[in-house]
Each structure stands twice: as structure tokens, then as C-alpha cells.
């Protein structure tokens, strides 16, 4: 990935020197780049861990690692991917694009912005260092359920401290995004004229502020249970292990939407561009996002249907969960209708966006199935769930991030990428991601629990296929890196409006975007907004 901009504008005032430029930066574009580079490194680390997992699971029998280390891998893979890759990547995109999309000169709180980012490398250094400690890394699953998690060694304390740091980083990032969007919009950029990416991030930021403290509370109670003799979750001391799960998932379900709402925003920017047609039902999209965000607070217990809730509780959480399908459906239908009677071209960002719509919808389908409590009694904690959330988080969140990078790359660097290689990258990923995750539906339905290092031979065939898919996917970060490096170095020069149908303020500044943009607020031309006529 890029570490510095390719061209030097005369009016550019980039600080000289590496430390001044990157460590002390308060520039939203440079901080955005830092977030994205960090996320890319974390994807590689988390991917390597999934490689260990899939290698062990390739054949029945234990071939490579001890079961405990396997559990360390599943736990760390999830923590690294969720908190290290997906969330920072979205924050990086927000840093880069939100000011450019609303005509602001920078983020509202630039110094805090610097701090939000620079906390992260320390948080992950702490977390990853546990891999090298006596007793090993946390191995109780990323959900950290007590009492199991408390059986771990002192790695638990490191994990909890790392989570506190990530939480501080996320909360500060969220405050910054809200402050920027609410205060720094150019005159005429009314709330209901904002691009959907800005809208989805505004709502996501509120979710972050609401739930990260809840996670912090839950893990702090774990810490005091382990080291200070409290019994929040210890049954022998009068505590309740299920209470932890309620608190955790009160954070955890909104967290799921924190990782998907910005993806909805990205896709809502890309599809109109390459359909050359305004986004269908802009307001419905905004309201659907808000609706999903609200519902995300009242569905948490669908992650724990099998803990033995009373019938009334099961029913409430089933109905509430099924309701989410409505606003999510509205979004999918609106994307498809945006394409309808458009003038479509299929440049690489559009391909990833279309793949997102299809594959995320498949993840949504298994989500609807999982909402049906009686059926969930069978699906819960099987590979069916693993398939479900990887469709939502890999072909959903991650694909949207890749789409966004291809889409805005010319704006960031002033260079086009090689379309042929990018298409190869797309098709390779499209094939292998499905080879990887689709058979996991079958495994789960056939009865394979998740988080197991070994299995009966009946599960051998689909596990083998799934592992082949994983090894294929492990090559994609290398491809992506090479394509971006090549573009940065040798790519054709990009126009200010890099895509024919691209609308929105970000395309009115030169490519690459100068170090400082919109020092004087732009004049908003309603017809140049991505969603066209907003009076409806």
C-alpha cells in the first residue's frame, strides 16, 4: 500500500521528514492512509492464523498443532480481524472520505484523530505479544465467555487491556466523525443531501459510542473476577455466567452492524456511479440504516438462544431479529432497482459491489434461517453459523472495503490501477471465497460444531474443499498489494473525476487529492450529488 503521495503539488504543505509526516500528523488523509495500512497488515496476520486453522482442518486427525494452540488461533483470528482489520479499515475510509464528501477541510478534532490511530499499534502489539508468552494467547474464543476464559493465563489481562485501548480508539474516532459530520459540512450540504457513506458512518459512530463502553464494562468485570476475587460471573460466588453473555452481546450485536453499515454506504456510492443513475430511494436508504441501528439494540440474545431463556424471551428475540430482514431487504431491493434501467459498466469497484450485494444477501438468508429459534437450536454453534458470519463479514464487509479501495484509489493516488489484473484479483477471490465458505453451510447442517480442531471422517470432504478455498484466498492480499504497488508506481494518470458516472464532492478536487482540500467551502450543486433529486 501507498505510504506517500505520488505527486507533489505546488501548494502542498506536506511536512518534511518521516516522523513529522506520519507520527505527528493531524491530516485526515494521512491518518486515513495509516488506518488502511494498519488494517492491511492485520488482514495478513489474521489471514495467516486462518491458514493455520484451515491447514489443521484439511484432513481428519491432528496433524499440525495441539488443540489448545488451535483455540488460540481461532480466538486471535477473530480479534485481529474484527478489531484490527475490518473496523480500522472502515475508520480509515471515513477519515479519507468524510471530509472530502461533505466539503470539510479536515476532521473536526485532528489531534485526537492522531491519537485514535496511534493507540492501535500499541493495542495490537499487546494482544499479539501474548502469542509468545508462557501459557500462550487467549484461547477461550473472541467472545471471551466465562468461566472458560478465566482459565487462561495472564494473557487474559493483556487481552483485556488491549480491548480497552481499542475501545478508547474507537470511541474517539466515533466522536470525531460525529463532530465532523454535524459541524463541518459545507454550506448547503443539508443532512438529507449527504452521501450515504457519510450517513451510514454517522449512524455507525453513534453505535460505537453506545456499545464500546459496554464491552469495556464486561471485560473489566472479567478482569476483577480473575484477579480481584469478585464473582460477577462466577456461579460458585453467586454470579451468573449467562449475565456475561447478555452484556457481551448487547455490545456484540450492534458491533455486527458497526462492521456492515459503512459497507452499505460504500456500495450505495459505487452502484449509482457505474449504473450512471441516481441511487434509488435515497431517503428510504437513510431511514433503513437508522432502523437497522435501532433494531441492533434489541436483538442481542439471538446469539444465545440455547442458554435456556424463558419462552417469552425466545419469542421476543426471534420476532425482533426477523424484523431486521425488512430494512435490510429494502436496501438490497433498492440497490437492484438502482441498477435497473441504468447504463451499466463493470469496472472493478462495480464488480466487487455487485459481488457484495449477491454474497451479502446469501449471508442475510442464512441470517433469516438462524433467526428461527427452533431451527437455531440445530444451527447454533455449528459451521452453519461460521459460514453465515463469514459471508457477512468477508464477502460483506471485506469485499466492500476492497471495492472502496479500488473506487477511491485514483482519488488518493492520482493513478489508475491495471484493470486486467484487478479483474483477475476479483474473479480469483470470487471463486475461492465461495469454495472456502459455501461448503461450511453443509458441514454445519450435517452436524459439525464450530471451534473444533478435529472431526469425524464424514466431514472430511467438505473440510478439504473449504481448506483449498482458504489457501486460494490467502494469495489475494499478495495480489492486491502487487496491483496497488504497480498502480502507484506505473499506473496511468487519473482524472479528477476518475469514473464517468461519479458524482459527489470528492470528485471535484484534483487527483490525487492535495494535502489540504476545501480550505474554502465548496458551493454545493444538488444535481452533482450521487443520489440526484433529493426532494422526494
Amino acid at each position: 500500500m501507498a505510504t506517500h503521495a505520488a505527486t507533489h503539488d505546488h501548494h502542498d504543505e506536506k511536512p518534511e521528514g518521516f516522523l513529522d509526516r506520519w507520527l505527528f500528523t493531524t491530516n485526515h488523509k494521512d491518518i486515513g492512509t495509516l488506518y488502511l495500512v494498519f488494517a492491511f497488515i492485520m488482514v495478513c496476520i489474521g489471514g495467516a492464523m486462518s491458514g493455520v486453522i484451515r491447514a489443521e482442518l484439511m484432513k481428519p486427525g491432528m496433524q499440525l498443532v495441539q488443540p489448545y494452540f488451535f483455540n488460540e488461533m481461532t480466538t486471535m483470528h477473530a480479534l485481529v480481524m474484527i478489531f484490527g482489520a475490518i473496523m480500522p479499515a472502515f475508520v480509515g475510509l471515513a477519515n479519507w472520505m468524510v471530509p472530502l464528501m461533505i466539503g470539510a477541510p479536515d476532521m473536526a478534532l485532528p489531534r485526537m484523530n492522531n491519537w485514535s490511530f496511534w493507540i492501535l499499534p500499541f493495542a495490537f502489539a499487546l494482544l499479539l505479544s501474548t502469542l509468545f508468552m508462557a501459557g500462550g494467547a487467549p484461547a477461550g474464543g473472541w467472545t471471551m465467555y466465562p468461566p472458560l476464559v478465566l482459565q487462561g493465563g495472564n494473557a487474559i489481562a493483556f487481552m483485556i487491556f488491549a480491548i480497552h485501548l481499542m475501545g478508547i480508539s474507537s470511541i474517539m474516532g466515533a466522536i470525531n466523525i460525529i463532530a465532523t459530520i454535524l459541524n463541518m459540512r459545507a454550506p448547503g450540504m443539508d443532512l438529507l443531501k449527504m452521501p450515504l457513506f457519510v450517513w451510514t458512518w454517522l449512524i455507525t459512530a453513534f453505535l460505537l459510542i453506545a456499545v464500546m463502553p459496554v464491552l469495556a464494562g464486561a471485560v473489566t468485570m472479567l478482569l476483577t473476577d480473575k484477579y480481584f476475587g469478585t464473582s460477577f460471573f462466577n456461579a460458585a460466588g453467586g454470579g451468573d455466567p449467562v449475565m456475561y453473555q447478555h452484556i457481551f452481546w448487547f455490545f456484540g450485536h450492534p458491533e455486527v452492524y458497526i462492521m456492515i453499515l459503512p459497507a452499505f454506504g460504500i456500495v450505495s456510492e459505487i452502484i449509482p456511479t457505474f449504473a450512471r443513475k441516481p441511487l434509488f430511494g435515497y431517503r428510504a436508504m437513510v431511514y433503513a440504516t437508522a432502523c437497522i441501528a435501532f433494531l441492533s439494540f434489541i436483538v442481542w440474545a439471538h446469539h444465545m438462544f440455547t442458554v435456556g431463556m424463558p419462552l417469552g424471551g425466545e419469542l421476543f428475540f426471534m420476532y425482533a431479529t426477523m424484523l431486521i430482514a425488512i430494512p435490510t431487504g429494502v436496501k438490497v431491493f433498492n440497490w437492484v432497482t438502482t441498477m435497473w434501467r441504468g447504463s451499466l459498466t463493470f469496472e472493478t469497484p462495480m464488480r466487487w459491489a455487485i459481488a457484495f450485494v449477491i454474497l451479502f444477501t446469501i449471508g442475510g438468508f442464512s441470517g433469516v434461517m438462524l433467526a428461527i429459534v427452533p431451527a437455531d437450536f440445530q444451527y447454533q454453534d455449528t459451521y452453519f453459523v461460521v459460514a453465515h458470519f463469514h459471508y457477512v463479514l468477508v464477502t460483506g464487509a471485506l469485499f466492500s472495503i476492497i471495492a472502496a479501495i479500488y473506487y477511491w484509489w485514483p482519488k488518493w493516488t492520482g493513478r489508475m490501477y491495471n484493470e486486467k489484473w484487478a479483474k483477475f484479483h476479483f474473479w480469483w477471490s470470487m471463486v475461492f471465497v465461495n469454495v472456502l465458505f459455501f461448503p461450511q453451510h453443509f458441514l454445519g447442517l450435517a452436524g459439525m460444531p464450530r471451534r473444533i480442531p478435529d472431526y469425524n471422517v464424514a466431514f472430511a470432504d467438505f473440510n478439504f474443499i473449504s481448506s483449498i478455498g482458504a489457501f486460494g484466498m490467502l494469495l489475494t492480499p499478495i495480489m492486491f498489494f502487487f496491483i496497488l504497488w504497480h498502480s502507484k508506481k506505473y499506473g496511468a494518470k487519473a482524472d479528477a473525476r476518475s469514473w464517468e458516472g461519479a458524482k459527489g464532492l470528492e470528485w471535484t478536487v484534483p487527483s490525487p487529492a492535495p494535502h489540504h482540500t476545501f480550505s474554502t467551502p465548496p458551493v454545493i450543486d444538488d444535481s452533482a450529488l450521487a443520489h440526484g433529486d433529493v426532494t422526494h
Binding site: 455466567p241 425488512i326 428461527i372 437450536f377 447442517l445
Partner: protein, 303 residues
């Protein structure tokens, strides 16, 4: 089944596809199995029906949505001269695709609610078994049978010795070699002492755990239940068909989470009563011997 033998594989695929179509499921996981088992209880049949209903609803919606996308991608290409239209809103359409999904969801929620109420009715059972999860084994205690308390029948059930040898890292032993008497590969799905239950009797389970959270899951029964320390959950089943039904711990419970299977052996009622009587007698003799030896009063029952 190993890799090799394309025809064998094709046959297995066809068998699996046939299973998917007919809804007939075998009692244990099969190679290339694609779908959920329909199971062997009324509950599991209802659960399977809910699963299939939700599945076909998703297939239907998928055909409409993906169909529309494919048509759009083929017909409205710029390279074919498609010119983009300007509209971006339609209250009618948006209302339509809010209301129709609501109706579909109500159609799913209704039978799901009924099934759930059915599954929650743990009352009027003829028998109670207490299940306790331990790292990494299960304990079964027979509490009562047909209204009478059972005297000291309880045992630990853990991974069988053969699977345990094979599953050691670098054991060099072949998981395909673990076969039970019927030729079924029971690698990691076999235990030393199965839970023995009578056919045709409604059994109530009380489920708990001693150390960390586990989950007791036999797919053929149609549910799983978390086993949580300090909490007692209940569940029930009534299996009419004698047979061997296998399952596994489904909640991450530490390093050997993958190695604590569950085997339920369902036998005809008369045979079960004989077995239970023998167990009670053995338990009593053992207890008497222990009392005599240690010369301490017997502890209150293990149930």
C-alpha cells in the same frame, strides 16, 4: 471415504441429493451430507420442517432478487447502448417490498412460535436424567423412572479409547480405521459408556455443568442445550426408534472441546428396565462394599 474414486464420490453426491429431496436422513452424519437431519423425534421433524420452510423462502426470494440483478446486468449494459433513466423513487414499489416481506415473515414466525411452544413443554415426563458437563466428559445420572426415584445409577461418559489414541497429535493412526460393529466410522463420535434410554418414553433432561459452559447436542433429537455451571436448564425428548444417536459438545469448553462426544443408545422399554435394574443392583452392591470398607456412612445419592 478418502480422496480418489470419482465414481464413489458421484454416487455419494447422488445419495446426498436424494436425501435432500426426500427428506429422509440417516441417523449419523454422512460423507457429503448437504442438509440438516430430519432426526428421529417429533420435535426434530418439526424443527426440520421449519428449517426447510425458511430455506425455500430464501430460495424463492433469491431467485427474484438475483434474477432481477442478472437481467439488469445483461440488458442494461452501456456497451449495448443502454441509456440510464433518471428516476430514483417510487413510493408504490417501496411499500410493496416492505409489506410483502412482512407477510412472508409472519408466515414463518407463526409455525416457529408453535414449534417453540411445543418444545418448551417439558412437563409430564416419565423419566428424568441429569446431564452434567465436565472438561471433557459428560456425566449422566438417572433421577427417576416412571414416578419412582432411581437408586444410584450414574456414570461418566467420555471419548472412546480408540478415537483418543488416533486423535493425538502425530499419532500416525488413520481416522478412517475407526469403525464400529456396523462398519460406521465412529471416529470422535464414540464414547465408553453411552447414555441408555428407553424407546417411546418421554424423557426430561436437566442439564448443567460443573466447570465451564458446554452444550449437549445430538442432532437427531432436534435441539442442543447449553450446560452452564450454576444453572439448571431443562429439555425433553421422546425417541420411538431404538438405535444409536451420536452428537458432540457444541460450546467451546477448552482444549478438548472437540473430543467430548455424546452417544445415546435407545433400546426397547423392557430391555431398558432390565438394564436399569442391573445398574441399580450393581450400584447398591458397590455402595455396600464401599461402606463396609471405609466404615463411613454412605453419602446422599449422586442424583
Amino acid at each position: 471415504m478418502k480422496f480418489g474414486g470419482i465414481w464413489r464420490k458421484a454416487g455419494a453426491w447422488m445419495a446426498a441429493a436424494g436425501m435432500l429431496a426426500s427428506g429422509v436422513a440417516s441417523a449419523n452424519p454422512q460423507p457429503w451430507q448437504l442438509n440438516l437431519t430430519a432426526g428421529v423425534t417429533d420435535t426434530s421433524h418439526k424443527v426440520y420442517a421449519m428449517h426447510m420452510a425458511a430455506f425455500w423462502v430464501c430460495v424463492g426470494i433469491g431467485i427474484v432478487v438475483f434474477g432481477a440483478m442478472i437481467v439488469a446486468m445483461v440488458r442494461f449494459r452501456k456497451s449495448k447502448g443502454a441509456v440510464a433513466e433518471k428516476w430514483s423513487h417510487s413510493t408504490k414499489l417501496e411499500l410493496l417490498w416492505t409489506v410483502i416481506p412482512v407477510l412472508i415473515l409472519i408466515g414463518l414466525a407463526w409455525p416457529a412460535t408453535k414449534t417453540l411452544i411445543y418444545m418448551a413443554s417439558t412437563g409430564s415426563a416419565d423419566m428424568t436424567v441429569k446431564i452434567t458437563g465436565y472438561q471433557w466428559k459428560w456425566r449422566y445420572d438417572y433421577v427417576d423412572y416412571q414416578g419412582k426415584p432411581v437408586n444410584r445409577v450414574g456414570f461418566i461418559s467420555k471419548l472412546d479409547a480408540q478415537s483418543d489414541r488416533i486423535r493425538q497429535l502425530g499419532s500416525g493412526l488413520d481416522p478412517w480405521s475407526a469403525k464400529d460393529a456396523d462398519g460406521y466410522n465412529d471416529y470422535l463420535l464414540n464414547v465408553d459408556h453411552p447414555l441408555v434410554l428407553p424407546a417411546g418414553v418421554k424423557v426430561r433432561f436437566v442439564v448443567t455443568a460443573d466447570d465451564v459452559i458446554h452444550a449437549w447436542w445430538v442432532p437427531q433429537l432436534g435441539w442442543k442445550q447449553d450446560a452452564i455451571p450454576g444453572i439448571i436448564n431443562d429439555q425433553w425428548t421422546k425417541i420411538d426408534e431404538p438405535g444409536i444417536y451420536r452428537g458432540q459438545c457444541a460450546e467451546l469448553c477448552g482444549q478438548d472441546h472437540g473430543f467430548m462426544p455424546i452417544v445415546v443408545k435407545v433400546v426397547p422399554k423392557a430391555e431398558f428396565e432390565q438394564w436399569l435394574a442391573a445398574q441399580e443392583a450393581a450400584g447398591a452392591t458397590e455402595q455396600a462394599a464401599r461402606t463396609a470398607q471405609a466404615n463411613v456412612p454412605a453419602r446422599a445419592g449422586q442424583g
